[in-house]
């Protein structure tokens, strides 16, 4: 393992150099330069989750006083600890963004304890104020609000009102996106339905293509999805001549004929606020969640698949969400007939975080 040996000695040299240079720096200026280190689990041009982060970080690079250090394709293993540690020691990163779910425990938690002067933030609501280091933290926008807008636009762009949803795994955030698409579509078309197919994995291109074909064969004329990289789903649906709604990042270029709109994260709002806090010497919030009401989401600019009524209704839905309009309004039953929403819930109500049901109108099952 000559690789790890050389890295280790490099680390030591880097740390020494940094210590030498840090002293006069700290005295010289009031504003702290932000050196942001960000780790991606996959390629940063995957048309999905990683691309959404990369696009946002790209926007930060232009700002003065911010340096960005990126590393892609870092598995959720010891490798991520090495990546983050080298960003801290070699590049002098003072803000580390770990963007994949599995990075948090034990890697982010351990490193945060080891480097108390570095701010660590992780993109999933996992930080626990009782047990985890104070310089660690979580951020997570509620993408289901943008999926609700997808549903509104899809409901008015679909001739039949049958929407197909290719989903990875039945975890609460995925289920909430499915339910939100249904509620959005039903808000403009009471007969709309959502048919869901679970692939069981976050990235399985062949099965995603099969699932898309099966949904189109079943009569769905708008297809949307929640998988890591929606490229295959959008391209397959476009090839079958149906309309599409995107997820995570912009897939507009993949569906020149049928793309309606897509649910996108606006990570730059969060990253910008972190950078501002660190530059001003403040501690960024440990737990940051949000949605349309605090500018953490956006919908992809409307494509050729969106009808004029759909655009109008979707824009109105966005305005309502910015004002905090609730998505889950009682009474709602799940597709087994049990009442699961008995009153109006705030969009950030903890009850919704534990979602384990699909609403009446969704064809599909979580087991």
């Amino acid at each position: 393992m000559s690789f790890s040996l050389s890295r280790r000695s490099l680390l030591r040299a880097g740390a020494a150099g940094l210590a030498a240079s840090a002293l006069p720096f700290g005295l010289a200026r009031a504003q702290t330069n932000v050196i942001l280190g960000i780790v991606y689990v996959g390629p940063k041009d995957d048309f999905g989750w990683n691309q959404a982060h990369a696009v946002s970080v790209e926007a930060l690079k232009a700002l003065p006083g911010i340096t960005v250090v990126e590393e892609e394709n870092v598995p959720e293993t010891d490798a991520v600890a090495k990546s983050m540690e080298s960003m801290i020691n070699l590049d002098g990163a003072n803000l580390i963004l770990a963007t994949s779910f599995g990075y948090y425990k034990p890697f982010v938690v351990d490193l945060a304890a080891k480097y108390p002067n570095v701010t660590f933030r992780h993109a999933a609501p996992l930080w626990n104020k009782d047990t985890d280091p104070a310089n660690a933290g979580s951020y997570f926008p509620y993408l289901n609000q943008a999926h609700y807008v997808n549903g509104v636009a899809a409901g008015l762009s679909s001739p039949t009102g049958k929407i197909g949803f290719v989903a990875a795994k039945p975890i609460p955030s995925v289920l909430s996106n499915i339910n939100s698409v249904l509620l959005g579509a039903r808000s403009v078309n009471p007969n709309a339905t959502v048919q869901v197919i679970f692939t069981g994995e976050w990235s399985l291109p062949v099965r995603e293509a099969e699932a898309t074909n099966a949904l189109v064969d079943a009569g769905c004329d708008v297809i949307t999805c929640h998988v890591d990289s929606p490229k295959v789903v959008i391209e397959t649906a476009e090839g079958r001549g149906v309309k599409t709604c995107g997820h995570n990042a912009s897939q507009a270029s993949l569906g020149p004929k049928g793309f309606i709109t897509g649910a996108e994260y606006k990570w730059e709002t969060i990253y910008k606020s972190y950078a501002d806090d660190i530059a001003a010497g403040k501690t960024p919030p440990n737990f940051l969640v949000g949605g349309y009401n605090n500018d953490m989401l956006r919908n992809t600019p409307y494509g050729a698949g969106a009808t004029p009524e759909a655009i109008k209704a979707a824009d109105a839905a966005i305005e309502a969400l910015k004002g905090g309009a609730p998505i889950y309004k009682g009474m709602l039953k799940d597709n087994a007939g049990n009442v699961v929403v008995d009153k109006d819930y705030d969009n950030y109500d903890p009850y919704l975080d534990g979602m384990n049901w699909l609403l009446e109108g969704v064809q599909g099952s979580i087991t």
Binding site: D46, F198, A211, A214, D217, K231
Partner: protein, 305 residues
């Protein structure tokens, strides 16, 4: 319910046609290599590298068929490398295969980066089902020419193994290196050529993945299909024709999961998604227990020695 059954059957037919082709090519390539007495576990690497090269060449030249050829070339290179290394004394072909798998996928990921975003021209399909007037059936019968190439190739291989001198030489090297040497045949050369040719076929299988179905290049594209295809060869008892049936069966079984959910049978999708593997396991147990099974295995394979 009848229409639901028909929907699932059509989906299985479509799935068999759409999904099977990469399995077919990798399995045929591996069949040829194993018939010569060597195992190349690295064909997953050929598949992924072939997919990347095909997409890149199609994007850069605008001609997808040129991409298919280039994918074959990339597979040929990896196969030849495997064949050459295994010629050296005391080299274990299985270990080299695993190394080649990592090498091929790593190479593909490294050079494939700039080609994830762009959209390359794809291969066209032949619409064979338009006369049925049933849109689902018409869709299922959109067949890519490579599918037929694979079937024709398997028949040629089956015939050539039995009826040609070349086929005899390959089988002899695979069954008894000593006899081949006594006949004046260079065992190493035959195995080198068989591995290289097998690698070529696996590369073509990769081109199908990136240029037809699912039809885009990304790093999760293959998700282990090359490994599965190697297992299919054992399942097909080293018979090229059976390789085709195994690939078709595997494709059809893979369509069961999504198709059942689409007709409303949504409980237990994890189980149905595992259908291809469960099915393979059962047929493998059944076929490997038969009396003739021992005779079908090439005698020189390092797993049987």
């Amino acid at each position: 319910m009848d229409s639901a059954v028909i929907t699932v059957l059509i989906a299985m037919l479509g799935g068999a046609i759409r999904v099977s082709t990469p399995f077919m090519f990798v399995a045929l390539g591996e069949c040829l290599t194993e018939k010569s007495g060597r195992i190349n576990l690295g064909l997953e690497g050929n598949l992924v590298l072939g997919a990347m090269v095909a997409y890149a060449v199609s994007f850069l030249t605008g001609n997808p068929w040129l991409g298919v050829l280039a994918a074959g070339g990339a597979g040929l290179f990896l196969g030849a490398l495997h064949g050459y290394i295994c010629k050296l004394p005391k080299v274990n072909d299985i270990a080299v295969g695993i190394a080649m798998m990592s090498f091929g996928t790593g190479l593909a990921f490294f050079f494939g980066k700039p080609f994830i975003q762009p959209t390359a021209p794809r291969l066209d399909a032949i619409p064979l089902g338009d006369w049925t007037g049933n849109p689902a059936l018409a869709q299922a019968l959109q067949v890519n020419p490579l599918f037929f190439v694979g079937i024709i190739l398997s028949v040629i291989m089956w015939w050539a193994f039995r009826n040609t001198k070349w086929g005899l030489i390959v089988r002899m090297t695979g069954d008894s290196a000593a006899s081949a040497k006594a006949m004046g045949v260079s065992v190493d050369l035959v195995r080198f050529l068989a591995t290289a040719a097998g690698g070529f076929l696996a590369g073509i299988g990769g081109a199908f993945l990136s240029l037809y179905y699912p039809g885009s290049w990304n790093q999760g594209l293959s998700s282990g299909q090359g490994l599965m295809a190697v297992a299919l060869v054992i399942f097909a008892r080293w018979d090229p024709i059976k390789c085709i049936f195994a690939a078709l069966l595997f494709g059809a079984a893979g369509a069961i999961g999504p198709a059942l959910q689409s007709v409303g049978i949504s409980q237990g999708y994890y189980f149905f998604n595992a259908a291809p593997y469960i099915l393979t396991l059962f047929i493998m147990i059944a076929s490997a227990r038969s009396k003739g099974a021992a005779r079908e295995v090439p005698g020189e394979l390092s797993i049987t020695k």
